[in-house]
Amino acid sequence: MQGYLNRLAVFDLLLGLALTVIVAWALLGTCFKLYQWASTPSPLPIPLTPAPRTRYGVVVRLLAEIVLFRALAKANRVTWLASVFFHYGLLFVLIMHVRFFFASIPSSLLPFIVWSGWAALAMLLGLCVLLIRRIVVDRYRYISTPSDYLHLLLLISIGLSGVALKRLWPVDTFGVGEFLRGALTLQWQALPDGVVLVVHLVLVLLLFFVFPISKLLHGVGIVFSPTLNERDTSARSSSKGKPSQ
């Protein structure tokens, strides 16, 4: 034990501990919100009609919103496109990060590693458009609070530092994997050297920290939105005669 601690500098230990604690916080915090939403009664059915009549239909409706951002596509094409770039860029990059959970990279992740630079670019592009429109359009400026800008700036900084790690100052990916796996299995390891790496990690931790207490929860929140997740149960019990078209 003594030797193990010696090998870890205090700073490394702190980073590892922070990762463990903040990941736990994000998970527990999110679970708490889910519990809070799920346990609040929905006294009157308020689906936005025309609404699906079956549970299957509800799943399709929710998927269309979550996967395609359907309502946003109807509302505003620029925002929609920027959101698609950002969210799918981020998803792609996140999948790439799964490599750090494995000591040797699974071959299925190779394309994600190869293309992740482009994905990060798409993500950054989307984020910049989202930021610019928030600053330029008077309506969006009016509804924005400092946290709305900071969320975007945080994500942009994470993306930029990530790109820097890939292109400019490559890191010891194996070492990063060990650090990450260590923190998640409570066997903390040192983080490989690199200032940008530390910056990237700290920013990500900040994002995880605000996740359960901010609007970032919207992704899960949609599923609980009664306007989208409730069925039109009255339709089934309507009169027998089928109106023709």
């Binding site: 919100k33 809070q36 939403w37 609040t40 009664p41 929905s42 006294p43 009157l44 059915p45 308020i46 936005l48 009609t49 025309p50 609404a51 919103e65 951002f69 309502a71 946003l72 109807k74 509302a75 505003n76 925002t79 959101s83 429109r133 928030r134 359009v137 309506r139 969006y140 009016y142 509804i143 924005s144 609070t145 400092p146 946290s147 709305d148 605000v210 207490i213 901010s214 609007k215 929860l217 919207h218 929140g221 949609i222 609980f224 939105s225 009664p226 306007t227 989208l228 039109d232 009255s234 339709a235 019990s237 309507s238 009169s239 027998k240 005669g241 089928k242 109106p243 023709s244 078209q245």
Partner: protein
């Protein structure tokens, strides 16, 4: 939308209206439009404080806390908005007034800023960071102003990627306001009248009977056919509950005559009820679920007392939402209804069924030279369904019109169907003290209408909602559309009906 029938094939015209131009925001533009606060006696008759209570701040926060625990929608909507802005240009009141607080998300933020301040860690610790605000007098004033410049039409919900329903936020806001002594005179007075007399207008049973009798005489004179308008007919099969405007005011009453003609022709034994002589349920607007239930209960009670097997709702938008979506939850199950018609039906469903079954005939040539466009009412479009088909609430009224008039034209698709624009007077705003907001709020609808008037010489605008009809009749002249006649759907159906 493409509608085909024997007479017409109609393509959607392109709207050239100015509503596609999104206005620049103009802070405070409609701050001065105020609706009168409920008087002490009205508030007290509903069990609410007569004037603003001394500890209004604590009471308001406590009430909001209760609502957050009682309504999942409210809680989720408070949490999930990303301020993406998709809804900002979707509200007719913003498009008409340019006041940024009439942007749906800004309206929600009036409440959300307080939610964040008092109910979230981020807002308690860093209010300036997340736009959290103390509830002070000026914010309270904004609540009263802007929660009464929302018609709870839910158009913004259609475009919100998180499905956030601003009407739920508005209802919660009004509910809190009323609970600390700041109810709205117009809605609360009406709720009081429904409780004490049975309808919004405060029309006594005796007066109602007289009105119905004189209408029977009018129909006989006009058509030579003795069409009855029965009241409290025990043993009738069908109870018709309709907005009380139908009993006396133009253009509503012609619709009422239309229902009577259709039901007469079909040989259905039906009746009105003096106990439930009102379909409207303004407690939906004020967010007071207890009152909503009590008002709905009258319908159940009247139906059971009269021993009817069917309940039919007349042309009223929000009444139809309450009947279709809420009635079972509020006062159900309605096991006394016939198994063939186990829920409340819309008069359009009834007429449409009779038409498709060949029980009644409609002859469009009787409405010669009438060119109709149909205004989808928000509560019907986004809060209810109709018939057994998807989108029946859009198709059935249009099918009835197509069979009743020579030409039916649709307004631009982004102003009809699920995306329909509110008439500008719904949700408890149909009061003279909000006339300015009502006129401005009708702008997008008026622009879409103007387009079809120019392209297809539309003569009639049809709606199936008493509020829409009243509102549009009074505001269209302000948009240079006084030549368009606002009409009940069943007026045209009644005129086209082959009556024997």
């Amino acid at each position: 939308m493409k509608l085909s029938n024997d007479n017409t094939v109609v393509d959607t015209p392109q709207v050239v209206g100015r509503y596609r131009v999104i206005p620049l925001i103009q802070e405070g533009a409609s701050a001065a439009s105020q609706t009168a606060k409920a008087t002490a006696d009205i508030q007290e008759s509903l069990g609410l404080p007569g004037t603003l209570v001394d500890d209004w701040h604590d009471k308001a926060i406590a009430r909001l806390g209760q609502l957050l625990k009682a309504r999942r929608g409210l809680r989720v909507f408070m949490d999930t908005c990303t301020k993406c802005g998709a809804c900002t240009d979707k509200c007719h009141y913003f498009l008409g007034t340019h006041d940024p607080k009439n942007m749906p998300v800004a309206r929600q933020d009036l409440l959300r800023s307080v939610y964040r301040r008092y109910f979230t860690w981020a807002g308690r610790l860093f209010p300036w960071l997340v736009g959290a605000r103390n509830l002070d007098k000026s914010l309270l004033q904004d609540w009263y102003t802007y929660f009464h410049q929302c018609s709870e039409c839910r158009r913004c919900t259609v475009f919100c990627p998180k499905g956030i329903d601003t009407s739920e936020v508005t209802m919660a806001g009004r509910e809190v306001l009323a609970s600390i002594g700041l109810g709205q005179q117009y809605s609360q007075e009406i709720i009081g009248k429904v409780h004490s007399i049975g309808n919004n207008l405060g029309m006594k049973p005796r007066a109602l009977a007289d009105v119905l009798q004189s209408l029977e005489e009018d129909i006989l004179e006009d058509t030579g056919v003795a069409v009855r308008l029965p009241l409290d007919d025990e043993g009738a099969d069908m109870l018709v509950v309709t907005p009380s405007a139908d009993f006396f005011a133009e253009p509503h009453v012609d619709g009422l005559i239309g229902y009577a003609k259709v039901l007469h022709q079909a040989g259905i034994r039906w009746t009105f009820s003096s106990e439930a002589s009102e379909a409207a349920n303004f407690a939906l607007f004020t967010g007071q679920h207890d009152h909503m239930r009590d008002i709905a209960l009258r319908i159940r009670h009247a139906a059971m007392g009269l021993g009817v097997k069917r309940i039919v709702i007349g042309e009223c938008g929000h009444a139809w939402r309450v009947a279709y979506s809420f009635l079972d939850t509020l006062v159900g199950p309605m096991e006394f209804l016939s198994p063939e018609h186990p829920r409340a039906e819309h008069i359009c469903e009834v007429t449409h069924q009779l038409l498709t079954q060949g029980i009644i005939q409609l002859d469009p040539s009787r409405n010669a030279d009438v060119v109709v466009t149909y205004h989808d009412s928000c509560n019907v479009a986004r809060g209810a369904g109709m018939g057994d088909i998807d989108g029946g609430q859009f198709k059935i009224p249009r099918a009835l019109l197509a069979a009743s008039v020579p030409k039916l034209v649709d307004m631009s698709a982004d102003t009809t169907g699920q995306a329909t624009f509110c008439c500008g007077g719904g949700g408890g705003l149909l009061t003279d003290d909000l006339m300015d907001v009502r006129i401005k709020g009708a702008l997008p609808r008026a622009q879409a209408l103007q387009a079809v008037v120019s392209s297809d010489q539309v003569t009639h605008l049809v709606a199936i909602c008493a509020i829409c009809k009243t509102q549009l009749t009074s505001v269209l002249p302000h948009h240079n559309l006084s030549d368009v006649q606002v009409t009940s759907l069943h007026h045209l159906v009644g005129d086209a009906l082959v009556l024997t």
